[in-house]
Amino acid sequence: MKRFWAVLKARNLEFLRDRTALAWNFVMPVAFVFGFAFLFSSDEQDVYKIGVYPSSEAIVNHESSFFDMRYVKFIPIDHLPTAIDKVKHHQLDMVIDLNKPSRYWINSTSANGYFLEKLLLAESIKSEDIASIAQLLHVVDVPEKQTVSGREVRYVDWVLPGILAVNMMFSCLYGVGYVIVRYRKNRVLRRLKATPLLVFEFLAAQVVSRWLLTVVMAVIVFVVCDIFVNFFMRGSYVALLVVFATGSLTLISLGLVVAARIKSEELSDGVLNLISWPMMLLSGVWFSLEGVHPMAQKLSQVFPLTHMISAARAIMNDGAGLLDVYPQMLILVGMATVFFIIGSLSFRWE
């Protein structure tokens, strides 16, 4: 234990004194959360962008209710060919030329363009007419409109567990994977190899050090962001802490596997990128994985980040308890154990 504490203390001091790394660990997630909170804070988020030619006056004076539609941003256009080019490049979803005879352009490969076209054409028939025609034909049962009640889960509330988890992922993978490789490259490990320090003691100290610092940093980031953004939290803070603590242990252990033998910082950087980017894209951090390709959904289950975010979201957004997320927790604990064993057995001092 004496040797474990000696290495743990030294590693903690090293991390806490590396002000740039410390600041980055705090600033990056806070900036992300504030950025998302700002971007998605307004009541109405525009979903579609339509360029209108010849000018904005035409929109104001136009009688069609199409131009009163919510969630659509109408952008005045001065030069029609440029606007058409933007449609081609998916910068605009549609361009409408209001000069007689009026015309519109969409990109046939754009989903937004497809829906806007449907909306534009549907607007030419009044909604009452649709209902009466449907009833007359006994073809369509017009559904009755209902609205959801209670506090809404904003996008920032939904995305927060993912941002915190991604930040922890980078901190865990690079904080252990990259640092151990650097130690090996500059021969710190070789010096330690000549002492009675055991591999297990060294690795355990690295894991515990990074784990403590990552969890503490995540708590600070959460609290600071919550003060300004007021997150939606239905579940227990303790349960959320347990999920993040378990998830970070799993990610640190994954970092150990990467660091076990690699001698080059460049190679470790590449391998860590290879692991972190697919995790970041396919673990449901930024968007829901509902409806994505089944292969991608299956692949996402391989990533510890998927289970960590899924459990955290269940607690924050749905009020789940630890018992509700035990499948994710079991997977995380299992992965942590397997990764730590592989990392320890394959570890080389040099």
Partner: protein
Amino acid sequence: MAEILEVKNLVKHFPGVQAVNGVEFSIRPGVCFGLLGPNGAGKTTTIEIMEGIQKPTAGEVLYKGEPIGSRFKEEAGIQFQTTALQEFLTVKETLKMFHGLYKRSADFDALIDMCQLRDLLARDTRKLSGGQRQRLLLAIALVNDPEVIILDEPTTGLDPHARRVFWSLIDTIKQRNKTVLLTTHYMEEAYHLCDEIAIMEKGKIIAQGSPAQLLKAHFDDTVISIPAEDFKVPVETYAEEAYLHHESVTIRTNNVQKSIQLLLDNDIPLSRLEIRARTLDDLFIELTENDLQS
């Protein structure tokens, strides 16, 4: 007295290179043993096998009669030729960290004073000068009050003053009856510090003994040097064998009086004449000449 370290028929192959080829020697307790040799002779590989850093292809290293293992790690102090320390730590924190890795421990204050680190305790280890850093690395090697201290070229790159300071530290260690294994490029250092030396060439030991014994065994002459501009006689026709090297003429003689008389007979001024006994430098160059030429 039983040997504290024994190296038996050590062999180490790397792809395409036979770094160590049947090295064998032993070190008695309390002795400062020097392992010398030109670059690439196999010194560092031999030392690294002794430290347990590398595994030999064949042969073994015994510490107190047992193969090196956890006991050796606990009782040995090692200073590598090149090493890095954890960043952002002070001298004191670094020493404390290594202190925490051993069951045995030296008196911390005495160690700091001995290695002259008292004024540097709060300094970041990255901000130490070369000499200060080497003193810290020596202190780390001594932090467990070791029985055996292995120093791999500890004074390479140090200025003459820092080197002398380091020598005095090793002298202090020797006075405490510790066993020291030292590799160095500096023959003066080996002569000053080592009780026994072994010279390696191409992975083998080619000479071993005390510096005095080796000099006596290999040389029975004295070297006389005269600046070339004072030596008015052609070297080729001089009555004794003389060599022109750079800007001086060297005469190796078994009879100094006779040689001086010959110089006087040839009207060669003696005001800048130098007479010296053979040194380890001469021995090193003579023994490893073939290696250097190849």
